[in-house]
Amino acid sequence: MYLFKQITREIVRNKIFVFLLFLLSAFTSFMYFFVQFSIDGNMKMLKSLSVLSENQLLYQKALNSNVILSKNFLIVLIGLTSFVFAMFFYRFYKSNGKQIGCLRALGYKNRVLRSYFVSFTAILSLVGGLFGFVFGYFASDILINANKQSYNLAGLIKNIDLSSIIIGLLAPIVIFCIVTFFSYGFVGRMEVGNLLSGVNNKYGFSGILKFVNSFVKILPVKDKFPYRIAFRKPIAVLLIITAVMGFTVMFIMGYSLNRSSQKVFLSQTVGHRYMFDTHFTEFKIKDEEKDNSIYYLISDVVVKSQNGTEVEQQIIGIEQNDKILALQDRKGKLLNGIKKDKVYISPALNELYGFNIGDKIILTFSEKNYPVIIENIAINAKSKSIYISKEKLAEILNLPANVYNGILSIEEVLSDEGITTTYEQKIANLERDSVSNRNSAVINQIIGFIVGSILLYLALLINFQENKRDILILHLMGYKPKAIGTLLIDIYRPIIGMTFLLTLMPSIMIAQSVQKTLSIQTGDYMPFQISYLFIFVIFILLNMLYSLVKITFSREIKSIIKRENITHYTNTN
């Protein structure tokens, strides 16, 4: 019991850090449950229906995307929170090595001490997780209502499966506990005598510190002191790198998701001059030529690349009629008719699966293979579709050349057999599709902002807690709080700027690869978008965030000077 009291009180002394860990744990499960509460019940409801309306189908597609997104959010946030847990315990063990040594000298086993730390993490992350669960439950109304409006569906429900509760609540707890378990190794493997005397107390950063010393030597004299102080706290620097990268990646992804919806919207409208798309379940014979329509053949196909990548697509056999559908290449140039044995592919096949112009690919229909060459990439190709000449597709499908099962037309096709999608319906569907991406964009930016703020705050907090003695000594030497702030806090602005520049390319690459993975997982093409202007905006936002966090600490310097006494830090005990 006394051991529990001692360790708990010592941990709780770091109340701000503990509170931020609680917040991160809560936020991790909140983001998951916020999305998941809107998924599980409705997914079941849709599965129970024998026939789905067009809106229900679109909603089901959006829910499938959200399942993947919520899991990705969970993985990212578990990763970040685990990192902060590891940092917390590393720091805790570093500053409490003597106390832990004392407990071990009293005969407490590593196993017992480790179990207390793991229990602490379990309790903290359980409470945080439950908070996240409850807030996620209430907040999911926002998503459900947005879906009700976007898909014009009534009766959407809020519910969650047991498996989702286990994933969202227990998985983070287990992972945080594993991180805590292993982080005890910092002190667990040290000899008690060394812990008590503080000998060999470098905790694995000696290489970094040597590098820092060499780097600081080349700086101008006036910058040496603050840079040395900043860089000698590898944890704070690591947190800053993580904060800046996390913030940048999330904002780039947010921007890209938002812009990708617009790009997809444009690609599905530019050159698509028809007003009606009528699809027939049975093949029909073309009996007349119409100037204001395209008769097409459509079929499912598996496209296989030379390196074995297989992708399910729709293949559309079309006749050339630019007045109805004008396919364009990447430069906006009109694509003039598909040659026999050649196909046009969509940008998604090129960007996500690596199919290129000139590649020989295999089209598989009912286990029969047909080799063709990719002639070009049509930027306004219908999603998940490749284009071939109607004549060739009819040949492949062993059909007469005048057979069709779809019409793109300016005027409405009056037929009882076909299902017609009007231009207005198509636009409405595209807009609904983009709602999901826009929601994800907002969620990404919220995560980026919150996680970035917490990590930057933690980095400055660590710097502050470890510099209290230096603050008091500088004060004794006559430095004013503002000057102390310049030495100890302002130094992080150029460090953040440098970190941003150095990590920009990796951040863009991470965002791009995450978005690509998301596109493949969800089957929803989201072209990666980035702009120089937005990169500058991120830099400004990052600086604003830093300024906000800095204000808190500038005030703290004054209160430390008032509150603390230098003698406390000169006591050897």
């Binding site: 006394y2 000298a105 008590l196």
Partner: protein, 232 residues
């Protein structure tokens, strides 16, 4: 008298460069007050840490009542520390979040019969400060609390590393007197590290360490009483 602790050819190197101990062999008798004397940097604290299981030697053996300590697993070593030995450090090493009473009681081992709490605190003169936290105590009070924590489990041997190093004369005398009393009343062997010659004169045996080697090992046939120590 039988030996409670024996060391054989103990060496200790740090970072594979610096050899702190260069082969020390000695034996500590049961129920004696032994002082290890030596100047700063002579290796006496490292020797004490090795003898008490807080550090592992680079080579050599430590044997406690016939059992080779240096072969103990981490768990066996922890049990041994919990049940058989007590430590008193120069900087007290009290747990800052516990009161004096809690600090003492955290030292009780579930597998041994503790000394009577009230009697012990009375002997050490700390009955009135039991509800105080370490930050509210004087150095002398902290050290006496640390001694109580070390001996409450009724250890067979007490390791004291410069236990008076942070205390003034009066408190230092009190602490040395108390340690002698504990040895006499409860039969606890005491191994005391110091560079103070006056304290050494109160011991039954004085071992001197110099440059990592055993320099002198003498039996003190006429130990002076701790109360008669002349501080200087």
């Amino acid at each position: 008298m039988s030996k409670i602790l024996v060391s054989q050819s103990i060496t200790k190197e740090f970072n594979k460069k610096e050899q702190i101990l260069k082969g020390i062999s000695l034996g500590i008798e049961e129920e004696t007050f032994t002082v290890i004397l030596g100047p700063s940097g002579s290796g006496k604290s490292t020797l004490l840490n090795i003898l008490s299981g807080l550090l592992k030697p680079t080579s050599g053996k430590v044997v406690y009542r016939g059992k080779e300590l240096t072969l103990f697993t981490e768990s066996q070593l922890a049990d041994w520390k919990r049940n058989e030995v007590g430590y008193v450090f120069q900087n007290y090493m009290l747990l800052n979040n516990l009161t004096a009473e809690e600090n003492i009681k955290i030292g009780i081992s579930p597998n041994s019969t503790p000394l009577p709490f009230d009697r012990l605190t009375r002997i050490l003169g700390i009955e009135s400060i039991l509800d105080k936290f370490p930050s509210e105590m004087s150095g002398g009070e902290q050290q006496r609390t640390a001694i109580a924590r070390a001996v409450i489990k009724n250890p067979s041997i007490l390791f004291c590393d410069e236990a008076t190093g942070s205390l003034d004369e009066s408190n230092s005398k009190k602490v040395v007197e108390l340690l002698h009393s504990l040895k006499n009343i409860f039969g606890i062997s005491v191994l005391f590290i110091t560079h103070n010659l006056q304290i050494a004169e109160t011991a039954d045996r004085i071992i001197t360490i110099k440059d990592g080697l055993l320099f002198e090992d003498i039996i003190n046939h006429n130990p002076i009483s701790a109360s008669n120590m002349i501080w200087g």
